[in-house]
């Protein structure tokens, strides 16, 4: 996703001089193509995320469309108040780009695990939040949203090879992309963990559960219309996210189900344990928090057959 994002950003920058890229000294071996192509529009502002967001606000006020880049935790949480009082309060087109959403920086530990970034960003009515599922969708999402009014938060993964089968790079702001399937169970996923959700749905279908997988990359504003239309056809809905179950996709889905009065039961799969200092690979952490394929299959079977 990171590579696709940078490649697409270069195309956008070639066509529009307002596009700038700022980084908080992150992106070695990733951002160089942009820096080399547009040396006067690339700024490594040093390890100073608050200042980076302040600078971006000043640039946007003067008419630029600055993209600010760092690891998802660093770019969303350290300068959170500068995001709130800057591009959000001023309604300016600053693009906050967080790489490594969820557990992508697994072995680096909790400081690098972005498991609340979507929650804090989607709290703001004026903020667009986009969390693509794979690199093809990341490209489509950037093309569709880079020039929207107001600020955007992009939650990216690092994987530029894996694709979610059936997604085919589809993205539309405010929409949910269904991957198809039957009517026993809907599994709705956000971000790169969607590949686990899609694999679980495939396995469940092999075990006789008519299961539909879908991707919600356009997280905020909530894709309420699509979600209601989709979830309305199921008795059981599971959400899957490498994020706390509070505040992210699970919460957003719960809000839509409750507010629309949909007759379905929701099971939120995500991080529900407090941080305890344990780290490991992304795969290990997905298993630990029950969002790997096998855990999701077990949860799906329990939901559909056990009524849990």
């Amino acid at each position: 996703m990171r590579g696709a994002f940078v490649k697409t950003l270069i195309e956008l920058a070639a066509g529009d001089r307002r596009v700038l890229l700022l980084t908080g000294d992150i992106g070695y071996m990733a951002l160089e193509p942009f820096a080399e192509r547009f040396p006067d529009r690339f700024f490594n502002v040093g390890v100073a995320e608050q200042n980076m967001l302040g600078i971006a606000t000043g640039l946007a006020e003067a008419g630029f469309v600055p993209f600010v880049y760092s690891i998802a935790t660093f770019v969303s949480l350290r300068p959170y108040e500068f995001i709130r009082n800057g591009p959000v309060l001023h309604s300016l087109p600053v693009r906050v780009v967080g790489v490594g959403g969820g557990f992508e920086y697994g072995h680096n530990g909790i400081t690098h695990h972005a498991v609340e970034d979507v929650a804090v960003m989607r709290a703001h009515p004026g903020m667009t939040v986009v969390s693509p599922a794979d690199h093809e969708q990341a490209r489509a999402a950037l093309l569709a949203t880079w020039n929207v009014p107001g600020p955007v938060y992009y939650r990216l993964g690092k994987d530029d090879r894996t694709v979610v089968p059936g997604l085919n790079g589809r993205f539309e702001a405010g929409r949910v992309q269904s991957l198809g399937g039957g009517k026993d169970l809907l599994i709705l996923a956000m971000g790169s963990v969607a590949k686990e959700a899609a694999a679980a749905a495939e396995t469940l279908r092999g075990q006789g559960v008519a299961c539909t997988a879908a991707v919600a990359a356009s997280v905020h504003p909530a894709p309420a219309g699509d979600l209601a239309a989709l979830a309305g056809g199921f008795r059981h809905v599971m959400t899957v996210e490498a994020h706390y179950v509070n505040g992210g996709l699970g919460s957003m889905t719960a809000e839509v189900i409750a507010e629309r009065g949909l007759p379905c039961r929701l099971t939120r799969c995500g991080v529900s344990l407090p941080p305890d200092g344990v780290s490991g690979s992304q795969e290990y952490l997905h298993r630990l928090h029950g969002i790997d394929r096998d855990s999701l299959v077990a949860t799906g079977l329990r939901v559909v057959r056990g009524g849990a």
Binding site: D40, G58, G63, G86
Partner: protein
């Protein structure tokens, strides 16, 4: 100074600060009074502003709690009406205790200390990228310089040689809970800015001639951004408020208001 800006006098600003804070029964009086002379100089001819011209100078009141002084300057220059001014702290008003960019004449919303200088640095970078001659000014409080983000912005502006950026530090020696020397001693302030790569000047923050000379000076030839360390008196102009911590937050009684207005030459 032209006809339009002649009326932006320090005493005019102080009078409005007292009238409006008394009417709205709010504080931050001392902090606003200490920058009246600085804003009089900025809005009395230094800032090339007005209208929607893209190349107008930008100003960030990084010490947003002195917004009333800014509103006074904007009113005296004719940017906001008397009726707007009288809405200060009213329901649904665009004139709150801290300034919002939805109010014409306010470039940046502030109120959380440590934010304004970063936005100003971005504005100065934008001017360079756009080949614009616009200058950018940020007015900081000395207590605000406790914030690490101020020094992030200071490092960046010096590294990028943003000579179009001027930071004015209102060195009134007080912050919310006490004297800065007791809370977090920032001396020597000018040397700190110099150490971060800025051209720093110390001046009497109530000396209009000295302020105008420093704030109108051509950008440094070597590209350094400029810090003007303005030594001010907290509550300047109202003797019973001067250097008294109480007037950081306290509103005035009727008697205090009468005394204060008499001190600044306003008839009551």
């Amino acid at each position: 100074m032209n006809e339009e800006t002649r009326g932006v006098t320090p005493s005019g600003i102080r009078k409005i600060i007292l009238e409006q804070s008394y009417r709205a029964h709010v504080g931050h009086i001392g902090s606003a009074l200490s920058v009246a002379d600085i804003l009089s100089v900025l809005y009395g001819g230094v800032l090339r502003t007005g209208g929607d011209r893209a190349d107008r100078d930008r100003f960030a009141l990084s010490k947003g709690h002195a917004a009333l002084a800014l509103y006074a300057a904007l009113h005296l220059r004719g940017d906001i009406s008397r009726a707007q001014l009288d809405s200060f702290c009213g329901e649904g008003s665009k004139l709150g205790v801290h300034p919002e960019s939805c109010l014409p004449g306010v470039d940046f919303s502030t109120g959380s200390l440590g934010h304004g200088l970063s936005m100003a640095a971005g504005a100065a970078l934008a001017a360079r990228l756009q080949g614009s001659s616009r200058r950018v000014f940020a007015l900081l409080s000395d207590g605000e310089c406790n914030e690490g983000s101020i020094w992030e912005a200071a490092m960046f502006a010096a590294h990028r040689r943003l000579s179009g950026l001027t930071a004015i530090v209102d060195l009134n020696g007080q912050q919310a809970f006490g004297y800065t020397r007791d809370v977090m001693d920032m001396t020597p302030m000018a040397d700190r800015w110099r150490a971060f790569g800025w051209e720093a000047h110390e001046t009497d923050g109530h000396d209009a001639v000295a302020l105008r000379r420093l704030l109108s000076a051509a950008p440094a030839a070597d590209g350094r951004p400029r810090a003007v360390i303005a030594r001010t008196v907290f509550g300047k102009g109202v003797p019973f408020m001067e250097n008294k911590i109480k007037w950081h937050y306290w509103p005035m009684s009727e008697d205090e208001f009468r005394q204060a207005m008499a001190a600044v030459g306003g008839a009551q």
